[in-house]
């Protein structure tokens, strides 16, 4: 039950994020939307790890490893984008 809920939440986050990524004109909002999609995808991975528990394991380590790497990557991407944004810190323009 809870895995389904988490899965649906993940899907919703991905959907909202993609919508924001496409529609929002400013770069900062796009960046935030990207992080939202990222959160959704990581949640899906969490659900996958949890599913292994049904097979009697405590949790599948591979998705967890992927999520950790993914979070690092997303963080790095956010940092890079934020740096670029800060360098651009004039009036906001559509990137």
């Amino acid at each position: 039950m809870s895995t389904t809920l988490f899965g649906l939440t993940g899907a919703a986050l991905v959907g909202i994020g993609l919508f924001g990524l496409i529609v929002h004109p400013t770069a900062l909002r796009k960046l935030l939307a990207f992080n939202l999609v990222g959160a959704g995808v990581f949640l899906v991975f969490g659900v996958l790890a949890r599913r292994a528990a049904a097979a009697g394991l405590a949790g599948d380590p591979v998705p967890q490893a992927i999520v950790i790497t993914g979070i690092v990557v997303a963080f790095a991407a956010t940092a890079l984008a934020a740096t670029l944004l800060a360098r651009l810190s004039g009036p906001e323009e559509e990137p």
Binding site: I22, V23, P25
Partner: protein, 550 residues
Amino acid sequence: MSGLLLAASFALPLLLAVTALWPPMRRHLLAALPAAPLPALAAALLAPGGSLMLAPDPLRLTLALDEPGAMLLGGSALLWCAAGAYAAYYLAASTRRTAFAVWWLLTMAGSLGLCLVADMTSFYLFFTVASLAAYGLVAHEATPAAGRASLVYMGLALLGEAFLLLAFVMLAIGAPGIGNPAIAEAVAHLAASPFRDAILVLLVLGFGLKMGLVPLHVWMPLAHPVAPMPASAVLSGIIVKAGVIGLIRFLPFGGEIEGWGVALVGLGLFTAFYAVAIGLTQPHPKVVLAYSTVSQMGVVAAVAGAGLASGSEATPVLAAFYALHHMLVKGALFLGVGVTGKAGGRSTGPILAVMTVMALSLAGLPFTSGALAKYAVKDLFGDGAAALAATLSATGSTLLMLHFLRRLATLVPADADAEARPPAGLLLPFLAMAGASFLVVGLLLPATGASYAAAFAPEALWKAFWPMLLGGALALLLHRFAPRSPAIPPGDLIVLAERGWPAMLRLADRLERADETLRRWPVAGALLLLLLLGLGAAMQLSAGFHIPRG
């Protein structure tokens, strides 16, 4: 040894072109032009029958010099020599002489190599080099007219390349083995190929474009007048022969495809008369010569078609022989136009006399190369309607050449003093080409299987002469009674095609605006999702729906 000579034929011009990267050499490049074709000349004289494998299997780059190849190689080398000497004088003061020399050498390497390659990839390579490098010769003057002519030339040349590439690919699929077949092997399988008709159409389109078969002739009357004089000579004399070599090499003579032969005869003869009709309306002598080239290449195409229809194995030699005659004579005529422009006083008479003989040689004047060439090919046409039409093409040529001579006379400077003479740097190459046309074509006549006794018999002479008399009479009548000739712009049909140009520009504008829209973020983002959904849906539909196992 003979193999090396073959390789040197195109290697020397290429090497000379590369030396342009080295500044001290650049100054002397123009003066080196007449020497560049010498290995090719030596190869044509010493190495017929020779061959050389440049790269072994599976590349199989092969050189081989057969009889028709040797004829055209020798003739081209002669014209390249003479025109090179002419250019060295003619362009000595030009600011762009190095660029001209580089394009010249590249074109030369391509056209000479084309005569002696035996495999398909190399053929395409040299064909492309010759045809694209000639762009630089057409564009040399950098005037608006040259810009337009070179653009049209380039567009059509590339279109021709595309036709040929597709034809070659289809031809190679039928050929035994994989990779790069020899031309002869591939052509042997042409008749059995599932793509036979498509291949033949593409070949005729590709090579016909180079030869100027109507309606693909439009580049010639634009390109020839804007190029510098020696460049016009090689364009008209040599570059258009790339199409002839192509027909000789790729049409399956001796095969059973009569219908195609008849069609080619029809196309060729139509071209021959059409070009005369348009050429008669042109005031500029170089444009008239360009239309004459179109007409003559129509005759060559008809020769090839007649050979195809009759299955005669001798056709390649005969077509090459006719092309050789045209190459030398047309080269002399173009060089002569420049010489006439510098004539004056006592030199005018002899120069115009030589030009008259050369011009009428194209119509088949007895004792000239033209009469021999026409004599050699006449048997191919049999004695039906095609034979009559081929004979009457000489009448057309007479008309056109008389028109040319009248227009040429207007070029003689009126105010030159009695001692004026064309400079030797222009005069000698011109006279050499004129002499070579008699000598070379005369000496090679036995190679076509004809005998001197028969060729110079009174009956043969009369056969050559009566169409010319008819032409002369027609010219008189036209001169007396014809209304003013209509003003047809050079390149005739291209003017109609160019009406479509603004529409093309509008289309490009529209594409550019569409690209701007596509590059807007929301559009691109939506397209990304759309592509994702479309790809997913297509995959699901084509794979069918499956329920995961377990």
